[in-house]
């Protein structure tokens, strides 16, 4: 068994995670830090991400690095984003900061899918959005969107 170099990632709240270098390099931000950080950069701080989120991000990277061509990658991705809205938003943010395009696309698309195909009222209900428009604004809205037959 070949010994591969490991990297320690440290989250904003001090949690540390030891991962294979190959997995860590899935994040282009970490890749850049390692390449510019010198020979001793075995611990990388990720202050923009909390421990809970970082552990999930690492889970994503592991799967995508270790088994990129596996048949269940799609179903892994689908299940991976079956989380509540807060976690999803944290994943999106983390993937942006850590420059992990696949995860950013996945989480952004999942957020977007929550809006698709819903009426205005349904969107409000799903996300508990309160209508704060004045009657004048409602009229402006109507004009802004009247070209859209689907509204």
């Amino acid at each position: 068994m070949t010994s591969s170099k490991t990297i320690v990632l440290r989250s904003s709240d001090g949690a540390t995670f030891e991962v294979d270098e190959a997995v860590a390099l899935h994040s282009l931000m970490i890749k850049h830090r390692i390449e510019t950080g010198g020979a001793d950069s075995t611990t990388i701080d990720v202050p923009e991400v909390t421990g809970n989120t970082l552990s999930k991000v690492i889970e994503y990277c592991k799967k995508h690095v270790e088994a990129p061509n596996s048949d269940d990658l799609k179903s892994f991705d689908t299940d991976f984003v079956k989380v509540d809205q807060a976690v999803l938003c944290h994943l999106a943010k983390a993937s942006y900061y850590m420059n992990i395009k696949g995860l950013l696309d996945l989480s952004s698309k999942t957020i977007a899918d929550m809006f698709k195909g819903k009426t205005v009222e349904q969107i409000r209900e799903t996300f508990h959005i309160k209508n704060d428009f004045t009657p004048e604004e409602e009229e402006e809205l109507r004009k802004e969107n009247s070209w859209n037959l689907f509204v």
């Binding site: 923009e48 909390t50 809970n52 809205q85 807060a86 938003c89 944290h90 999106a92 943010k93 942006y96 950013l104 696309d105 952004s108 698309k109 957020i111 977007a112 899918d113 809006f115 698709k116 195909g117 819903k118 009426t119 205005v120 969107i123 409000r124 996300f127 508990h128 959005i129 309160k130 209508n131 704060d132 428009f133 004045t134 604004e137 809205l141 802004e144 969107n145 070209w147 859209n148 689907f150 509204v151």
Partner: protein, 290 residues
Amino acid sequence: MDITSNFSGTGDYFILALIATLVCSLFFRLLKLPQLDKPRARNCNCNCDCVGGCESMAVTAAARVMNGGGGGGGVVERERHQQVIGASMMEQLVPEITTHALSYLDYPSLCRLSMTNSSMRKAANDDNAWKALYHKDFTMEQDSITPANGWKAYYAATRALVNINQQFFDIIRERSLPDMGRLWLNADYVKCIHASGEFFTGYSGVLGSWQLALNWEPAVNFQVRDVRSRVLPGVAWVTMKAYAEVEHNPHPVNVTNVFELHNGQWFMVHHHSSAMNVDGEVAHQPPMLG
């Protein structure tokens, strides 16, 4: 897709509203705080002293949830302490993520989202999002232009124009002279050049030529491709390639239609059809229709 955005601070409204409203309703149903009588925050059941207050209270609740939860009621003190952590976490959420998420939406969803509340309206009316959608749905052309009323309005005008252009071909297929009469502007300067090379000018001349064409040929369905439009205030033109779905006499044509806007409706003022150059040769002279 270019995910840099030049709108400042609207992205955090998107996620802020998302998380805030979800947790706000859960949290305040739990504590049953009295309703504050303010027009803007009229639907917010929180005992807060400003419009942003409800959101920041919800943010602290969100922080509580995200940091491993806590007890039920009576934790207001701890929440105010955590308020700083929660608020800064929300504020750090970048506009680029919002733009990226919006880029996956189609235009009906984007419109509906903009109608939910004022924060969503700002996010969903983002100019760059509509520019990207325009390039996705219509054409990559016109990337360097700046529409006078913003990209959402430009998208809307283009959508209306493409629809009415399609109606022109539906009218031909249905052979409805009355509809053709309603589509054209009743003016003396309208012109129609059919693929046969015949030229007609003025409303009655043009309609007369269509009367012949629609009654004469068998009903023809056209496949319309490569539709490109350019919209300016009051006038627009569309170019396209039309392929008649007729087996032995295909006669593909290049078509240019020009429209004028009157009372919020587009009217055709010019139509020009010509045989398409296929494989370096000009196709047979096609019949009048088209």
